[in-house]
């Protein structure tokens, strides 16, 4: 068992699933010879050849749409959209087709595709390379949304996503790609979709996050003497309401940390669910730490935009005042 980063863990998951099932087919811009702009698909082209690792034209609607057609004809496409900011070209295909194919054909056809895409700020990238719009996908019935937060869960979640019978949007936090190393077993394993992960047990407050913000949330929690329940959602659609609600019923306090702008972000859904299902247990307000409701700035200012450890701490303190 080696300590690897998230890129390597994802690469391992892809390679192993491709070995296991010859229908699994990787496709996207620069995923072949170049191995992907973040090298997540490195070595796959050499190993599996150009019919299973397909460099496509620059064509997001075409990539998602062709993946749907390939799935209908028996392949299991894992498509890469080079950055989440470019996924909107494929939005219609995802929302009007991938999400609905099973339903509109009453199960005759289905769409077991995975769309992987790097997301999130913090790597000083160019414009439109840093957004975090997971909430747009979580609102759409018929697709699943998954966000790993480290190498270990990245591998297990990607394996589950590939094996899942429905379309999965798989969001990879660019900032974490090479930031953390973890022990990742060589053997294939899967982590169930729709379930969260208790990262830290505590009684005083429930801190909820996912993906790129999990590390910061954890760091913020560590700064206090009281015990915090820290939940990594990992899946946003479906999401583990049960874990969140039972924690909040225990702690009576909730802070949700998301990288996206506040209005209509996924944190709103978590907060709304708490307000609907666990209000009697709350000691104080359900607080959100989010980016501001502004256009994401270029790299010079992006650090001010992202929720900082400081801001998370402030909110935790505020919550503890009740």
């Amino acid at each position: 068992m080696a300590a690897v980063n998230m890129v390597q863990a994802l690469n391992m998951a892809l390679r192993q699933e491709m070995e296991k099932n010859t229908s699994v087919t990787v496709m996207g811009e620069d995923v072949g010879r170049a191995g992907g702009v973040f090298r997540v698909t490195e070595g796959l082209f050499e190993r599996f050849g150009g019919e299973r690792v397909i460099d496509t034209p620059l064509s997001e609607a075409g990539i998602a749409g062709a993946a749907i057609g390939m799935a209908v004809c028996g392949l299991l496409p894992v498509a890469e959209i080079q950055f989440m900011g470019f996924i909107y070209g494929a939005f219609d295909q995802i929302i009007n087709h991938a999400a609905r194919l099973r339903n509109r054909s009453r199960g005759r056809f289905s769409c077991p595709i995975v769309i992987r895409t790097p997301y999130g700020a913090g790597i000083k990238a160019l414009e439109i390379h840093s957004e975090s719009t997971e909430a747009l996908f979580a609102h759409i019935p018929g697709i699943k949304v998954v966000v790993p937060s480290g190498p270990y869960n990245a591998k297990g979640l990607l394996v589950s996503a590939i094996r899942d019978p429905d379309p999965v949007i798989f969001l990879e936090p660019t900032r974490l790609y090479r930031m953390i190393k973890e022990e990742v077993p060589e053997e294939p394993y899967s982590i169930p979709l729709g379930r969260g992960r208790k990262v830290k047990e505590g009684k005083a407050l429930t801190l909820i996050s996912w993906g790129s913000m999990l590390q910061r949330a954890l760091k913020a929690a560590e700064g206090f003497s009281f015990d915090t329940d820290v939940i990594d959602l990992m899946s946003l659609s479906p999401w583990d309401e049960e874990m969140v609600l039972s924690s909040v019923k225990k702690t009576g306090r909730a802070v949700i940390v998301q990288e996206a702008p506040k209005t209509c972000g996924f944190a709103s859904e978590v907060a709304a669910t708490i307000a609907e299902e666990a209000i009697a247990y709350l000691r104080g307000p359900v607080l959100r730490v989010t980016a501001y409701d502004v256009v994401l700035p270029f790299s010079k200012l992006e650090e001010y935009y992202m929720p900082s450890i400081e801001r998370i701490k402030n909110k935790i303190e505020e919550a503890m005042r009740y």
């Binding site: 087919t25 019919e51 397909i54 496509t56 034209p57 064509s59 609607a61 075409g62 998602a64 749409g65 062709a66 993946a67 749907i68 057609g69 390939m70 799935a71 209908v72 004809c73 028996g74 392949l75 496409p77 070209g89 219609d92 295909q93 009007n96 087709h97 194919l101 099973r102 339903n103 509109r104 054909s105 009453r106 199960g107 005759r108 056809f109 289905s110 019935p141 018929g142 699943k144 019978p165 429905d166 729709g194 659609s237 479906p238 309401e241 049960e242």
Partner: protein
Amino acid sequence: MPEKTIGSFEIKRLEILDEEGNADKSIMPALSIEELKNLYEMMHLSRAFDERALSLQREGRLGTYASIRGQEAAQVASAFAAERTDWIFPSFRETGAQITAGYPMHMLFQYWSGDERGMKCPEELNIMPVCVPVGTHLPHAAGAAMALKIKGEKKAVLAYFGDGATSKGDFHEAFNIAGVFRAPAVFICQNNQWAISVPLSRQTAAATLAQKALAYGFEGIQVDGNDAFAVYKASKAAIEKAKAGGGPTFIECFTYRISDHTTADDSSRYRPAGELEQWKARDPIKRLRLYMEKEGIFSAEFQKQVEENAGKKINEAFHKMEEIGPPPVSDMFAYTYKEPSRREARQMRDFANGGS
């Protein structure tokens, strides 16, 4: 050479059967008498279904319906050229192709009455559900064709769409991808001259739609879309080429939408006077009948039998749909995911308990 020619292209139009029913025998596709009769029967059946659907809609027994009148040759003769194992990706105005490819008519009635079960294609057929967002099914067709090629299955993909669809980005990305991967796809455009109220001249500045194939490095051809033989011949050739590894083909069927866009439309608001009459004279079914009469393979009795068969099948289909009745409400929760999520399961229970 300072300004040299680096590409020369020609776009052809294929016509075999004229309005009087005369066919150019030298290029006539190989069709047995049985096949010819069959083709005629399918075109008649498609029109009869269309007429019934229009009248059922007027009676409030179907929802909004998109008529195929005038496009019977373009739809039926192209689907007639396919095998049952080929894949068909229809748009929303493809009744003729669907019927010809064997799609159960009672399911078409279900679909047009607002029941998803009508889109559950029988296992033995490869016909995709109707695509409502214009042109967005074309990337699926390209991907399906890629998969068939990768898997080594000797099947072709037929994708149907209208002239309006050619303006969508999805059309472009699909054609481009099909071209790059030499996928076994046959793209069949029903150029019926109108996209609701927008005439072809406002849809594109190109003189023909067929020439759009040049942008993708594969062959495009225009056929007289009211000429069943031209449509059949071009489709057959394209399907065979696809299966032989020759890549995609674009067939522009030059035809006309005789009806309003849908039953919710009133085309007299925007169509120039006279155009409709002109096109009515080019009726595709009449043309085929005239040919068959000249060939001595058409009789009043045959016509009567064709009409009776069609009437009977359509009646049966309609009654079958009525017998089946409306879908169970619980179906609403059954197909969003393979397994309902916990939230969905709970909503299903809430719903069953009177709804909250």
